[in-house]
Amino acid sequence: MNAARSSRPPEASDGAPRPGLPPAAAALPMERPPRTEVGPLGWLRHNLFSSTFNAGLTLMLAGLLGWLGWLAVRWTVTDANWGVVLKNWRVILFGVYPRAEIWRPAAGLILVFVLGWLTWWVWRRTEMWRMRRPILAAWVISPLVFGLLLGGFELPTLRSIGNGLGYFLFRPDLLSALNAGWRGPVALGLVAAVAAITLDLDRRPLARALSAAALVATALFNLPSALLFSAQVPTALIVLAAGGAGWIVGRWCTRLLSWTEQGRRLVPWLWLAVLVACLFVLTDFKVGRPEFDPVEVLTSVQPSLWSGVLLTLVLATVTAVLSFPFGVLLALGRTSRLPVVRACCVGLIEVVRGVPLITILFMAQVMLPMFLPMNLSIDRVLRAIAGMTIFTAAYLAEVIRGGLQAVPREQVEAARALGLSELLVTALVVLPQALRLVIPAIMGQFVSMFKDTTLVAIIGLLELLGILSSITKQREFLGTVREVYLLAAAFYFVICYAMSVASRRVETRLGVGTR
C-alpha cells in the first residue's frame, strides 16, 4: 500500500532499515544523485533529447503540434459560430421539457451532482464510514425520486385517506355480512384454526397476542347475530360450534402432523391465506372502491418529453443504478451450484452479449409492446432504459464473475469455519473482495454504457446527440455541424474522463492489489 501511494522511486526505500531491526552496520552515508539524472531536467534529457536525431525529431514534432494547436484555437475563437450553443442552451440541456416546469430537471441535476459529490467526499475519509450506508441507500432510491420529480406525481388528500381507511375498517355491508347466516361462523372457524396453530407453535409474545386478538375480534363480530334468538336453530350454537370446530382442526393439524420448525415458518402464510379466504367468504370479492380524490403535487410530464442532456443523464444514472444489482445477481447465479439457476444465468448472459445493443433497443421499442396487454403501454424512454439495463447487466455479470473467481478459496473456508452461512459468506467476505478487484473494469463498463446512450438517438429519442442534430437541421443554424458536434465530443469526454479519474482514485483508496 505504501509503495503504491508514494511517488518516490522504489530504490529509495531500499536503504531504509526494516522496522524493528537494527540498521546495517557501518553503512556508507547516502549521496544525492547527480542533478542531470533526476528532476525535470533529467526527464527532458532522457526522454526528449537523448541524441541529436531525437532532439531534431522532438523539435519538429513540437513545431507541428504548435501549428495545429494554433489553427484549432484560431478556429474556435474567430471562425466558429458559438451563437448556436448560446441561443439553444436551454434546449440542449432540457430539450422539449415544458418551459414552466424546467426547475424540476434543474433541481434533479443539482441533486445528482450533490449526491455524487457527497459520495466522493464520504468515501475519501475512513472516519465517515457510518455515512456510507445512508448514501448507498440514497443512490438505490434515486431512480424513484428522480422519476417522481421529472414525471410528476399525485397524492391522495388526507380526507380521502381517512375516507378509505374508514371504508375498509368500518364498512357497513361487511358488518352485516358477518351477521348474515353462515358467513360469520365460517370466518370465525377459519381464524380459530390458524390461531390454534399459531398459539401452539409460536413462542414469540407478539405473534401470540396478535393471533389471540384476531380470534377475539372475529368472535365479537359474530356477537350481534349470536344474540338473535329468532332463528330456528339458535345462532349462538352455530357460532360456538364453528369456532370450536376450527380450534380443534388447528390443534389436530399441529399434533397429528407433528409440525414443528416447518410449521412455524408456515404461520404467516396461513394467516395471509385466512385473510383472503375470509374476505372471499364475507364479500364474494365484491369489494367496492372508496372515494379517491388525488391532488396533483407535480404536474405530469410524460417521459417521452424528457430530452437533451437531461435524458442522457437520466439514461446513464438509472441504467447504472439498476444494472449493478442485476449484474451481481447474474454473476452469483452463474457461479451457483444449482444447475438450473446456472443454466438460466448463462443463457441470459450469452444471449444478451451475443446481440448488439442497437438490436436490443429496437426490440425493446418494437417487440416488447407485442407481448404486453393492449391497455398497458410502457413509455419509450422506460423501454430504452430496460434494454440498456439488461445489456449492461450482462457485461457487468461477466466482469464481476472474474472478481468472484479471483477471491481465494481459503477466504471462503475461513468464513465457513467461523460458522457463517453460505449467504453470509458471499455477502460479507466474497463479494466485497470481488467487487474491489473489479472496480476499474466496472467503471470501464459504465463509461462505455454512458457513451452508448447516444444510440437511443437512432430509435428516435432526443438525448443530447438527437437534440443537437435536430438543431443543426433548423434553417437558422444551418452549417453549424462542427460547433455542435465539437460540443458533444467535449461533453462526453469531460464526463468519461472524470469517471475514470474517480475510479482510479477509489481504486488506490481501497488498496487494490494489497493483501
Binding site: M1, T260, E261, E413, A415, R416, A417, L418, L424, L510
Partner: protein
C-alpha cells in the same frame, strides 16, 4: 438452535469412528478412529501427505468425509445444514496461511462472526474483540488492516478471531509453518497459554517442542492411517511402531 438431535458421548467431545476420505482415486483417510476428551490438547504429527490436515478439516466439514462417523459435542456431522452450522459455531479454526479477511480491519475481522452468527450487539462484540486482542498481545493494532501486520501478528489475530466465537474446540492446521523463524515463538506462546485454559485443542504441527510441552496425547499419522497415539513421554521415549521410530529418528536426529 432447536431440534438438533444430541447424542451422549460422555467425556469425549470429538468422536471419530472409521473416518474415510478419498480425493478421486486416492484414499487420504483410511479409517481413522479417534476420541478426543473434553479439555484435552491433542497434537497430530506425521510426514506431509499423511492426511493430518485432511483429518482435522473433516471435523468441521471443510472436507466432507465419505465413510465412517464423526460426532462433535454430541452432534453428528451429517448433510443437515443445521448440524453443520451448529458444529462450526462450536469449533474455532486457525489456518496455516492465516486467512484473515483483507478487506476488514483487525477489529472487524474479530467482530464479524459474533455479530452475524451469534447475533451479539456491536458493543458486546467489540468488547470481546478488544479483550482477546489484549490476550494475544496486540491491542494497539485493532484498527489496522491485516496486510499491515507481520506474519506472527496476523496469526495471533487469526487465533483471536477464532476465539471470538467462544468455541469449545480449537483446531490448528500447521499454525507456524508459514511464519519466519523469528515469529514462531510469539504464536506458540499464545497457544501454550491457551492450552492452560482448559479449551479442547487439536493441533497439527511440526513443532516437537510444543508437542512435548503442551500435549496431553500425541498421535502419529502415516499414509492416511493413525499409526500410534500416546502421551508425550511414552511417544518420544518408547514408541511402539517401527514407522514412528523412523520418523522420530529423522526429525530428532540432532
Amino acid at each position: 438452535m432447536p431440534d438438533i438431535e444430541r447424542i451422549d458421548t460422555g467425556d469425549d467431545i470429538i468422536v471419530c469412528e472409521n473416518v474415510k476420505k478419498w480425493f478421486g482415486e486416492f484414499q487420504a483417510l483410511r479409517g481413522i478412529s479417534l476420541r478426543v476428551r473434553r479439555g484435552e490438547v491433542l497434537v497430530i504429527i506425521g510426514p506431509s501427505g499423511s492426511g493430518k490436515s485432511t483429518f482435522i478439516r473433516t471435523v468441521n466439514r471443510l472436507e466432507e468425509h465419505q465413510g465412517g462417523r464423526i460426532v462433535v459435542d454430541g452432534i453428528e456431522l451429517s448433510h443437515d445444514v443445521r448440524n453443520i452450522a451448529a458444529i462450526r459455531s462450536e469449533i474455532g479454526m486457525v489456518f496455516q496461511q492465516f486467512n484473515l479477511f483483507p478487506h476488514l480491519t483487525v477489529r472487524q475481522n474479530l467482530t464479524l462472526a459474533p455479530i452475524w452468527v451469534r447475533r451479539w450487539s456491536q458493543a458486546k462484540a467489540e468488547a470481546k474483540a478488544m479483550e482477546l486482542l489484549d490476550r494475544v498481545g496486540i491491542p494497539e493494532q485493532a484498527d489496522k488492516y491485516p496486510g499491515q501486520l507481520s506474519g506472527g501478528q496476523q496469526q495471533r489475530v487469526a487465533i483471536a478471531r477464532a476465539l471470538a466465537m467462544e468455541p469449545r474446540i480449537m483446531l490448528f492446521d500447521e499454525p507456524t509453518s508459514a511464519l519466519d523463524p523469528e515469529m514462531i515463538k510469539e504464536v506458540l506462546d499464545v497457544m501454550q497459554e491457551l492450552a492452560h485454559t482448559g479449551i479442547t485443542m487439536v493441533v497439527v504441527t511440526h513443532e516437537m517442542g510444543f508437542a512435548r510441552e503442551a500435549a496431553d496425547r500425541i498421535c502419529f499419522f502415516d499414509f492416511g492411517n493413525l499409526v500410534e497415539i500416546g502421551p508425550p513421554d511414552q511417544f518420544f521415549h518408547s514408541p511402539q511402531h517401527e514407522r514412528t521410530k523412523l520418523f522420530l529418528s529423522q526429525i530428532l536426529h540432532q
